[in-house]
Symmetry: C2
Subunit: 229 residues, 2 copies
DNA sequence: GTCTATATGCCGATAGAC
DNA sequence: GTCTATCGGCATATAGAC
């Protein structure tokens, strides 16, 4: 059974391992285009020239295939960054923007994360622990970068850093969703760059409160009265 | 058949219409907790004391029930805003923050939008047109508010407004996802307020570029342009 | 390692009794 | 308006041949 090979052991033959990753790639494609609940083992099997029983021989169960798929995607991303080790300082913000530029040419990867992360909040979803840990880790990394930046540039309340870190990840995710819905209307990379810049600058110097932009105190009838300059 | 009653006609008996909305409320709950693909008509039927055949009598098909459910949610939201008509000026930004405060006590509503909007990007999903139109409309409304604000406060390139509008909706969605995963770690309303404020301020005065924060020893010019008031 | 065949179950939708 | 009964389809997973 494949269930015991956790770290991708070397005990299997090369052709087997090749098929293994071939299935994982197909799973990314299917879970991305149809979701986990709606995508089927037969869909994945078709894409690699097997039957669903063949896929189950490699992964034991659909749920295990999902978890292996998420782990596989993560380790592939990390591999791309080996020695280009994730920057731990303010460079991280530039790295996030570069990631957005890369993602604009990887709709499949973006979609599988968008679809599965949202699906993971549903009842007893097997991917939920994965995404909980993923976001907790990412927020910690972004917060660390903020702390380094704040030491360099000035001071800021630690509470603001947590909120800003979550906001940066949030705006990246949200823009991806809108981009998947309207690829022609959303410029993923440019918008991500703008938003991250806005949030980083807000941490370093907050600027005026929103309420200071209020056009008036009370609207009497609420008819079409325009705020004048 | 209920398929022809588009606007919620008055031709049906009150008890029937009551059951109708009862089913729609159950559908919000089920589609939110299990998703559209995974939630079943029997789940929804159980929640209102019917069989799945009873639900189908009211809505004809599962797909139609989903569309009616989305329309029902939208018109309920609008009803809450009747006479409190959505502000069309800079007040809109404060309204969005207030919405986030309200949402922090409506996890079910937040979850159904989060789950279904992401699911809608999957293959031939029946809710896709709904969310495409929803985001296009919301971006237009936020952009309108930005244009009014920019007339008051200064000038800005129209391109920035589009990017900022998408970013504001994005950060709201993304924070909702993280909040659903970690309710104790994310302060939905406070974070939303911070992020919207950051983006609005960035539109009015951009501030330094991200690359100016690079920690690299060699930096072209030593100036780090210190931001505004 | 991959297949065919099958067990088992759930789903959406329809038909017709009450 | 709601039910029971049922049809047809498809899902995951298992068993065993090759």
């Amino acid at each position: 059974m494949a269930s015991e090979s956790v770290g991708g052991a070397a005990r299997t033959r090369p052709s087997t391992r090749r098929k293994h990753t071939e299935i994982l790639d197909a799973a990314i494609s299917i879970f991305g285009t149809k979701g986990y609940a709606n995508g089927t083992l037969a869909d994945i099997a078709d894409q690699v020239g097997l039957t669903h029983a063949g896929v189950l021989h490699h992964f034991g169960s659909k749920q295990n295939l999902l978890l292996q798929t998420l782990a596989y995607r993560d380790e592939t991303d990390v591999k791309d960054l080996v020695e280009k080790h994730i920057p731990d300082g303010p460079e991280l913000f530039l790295h996030l923007v570069r990631t957005a530029f890369a993602n604009a040419h990887r709709a499949g990867i973006v979609q599988v994360y968008t679809v599965l992360s949202a699906e993971s909040v549903t009842e007893d979803h097997p991917a939920r622990p994965f995404f909980e840990e993923r976001y907790a880790t990412l927020r910690r990394e972004v917060s660390d970068a903020f702390r380094v930046l704040c030491e360099q540039e000035g001071v800021t309340e630690p509470d603001t850093i947590d909120v800003a870190s979550a906001s940066i990840l949030a705006v990246m995710d949200g823009l991806q969703l809108q981009w998947l819905l309207h690829p022609a209307k959303i410029e993923l990379a440019g918008a991500t760059e703008f938003a991250i810049r806005a949030i980083v600058n807000a941490v370093l110097s907050p600027g005026p409160e929103l309420s200071s932009y209020r056009s008036d105190e009370a609207r009497p009838t609420g008819d079409t009265d325009r705020p004048r300059t």
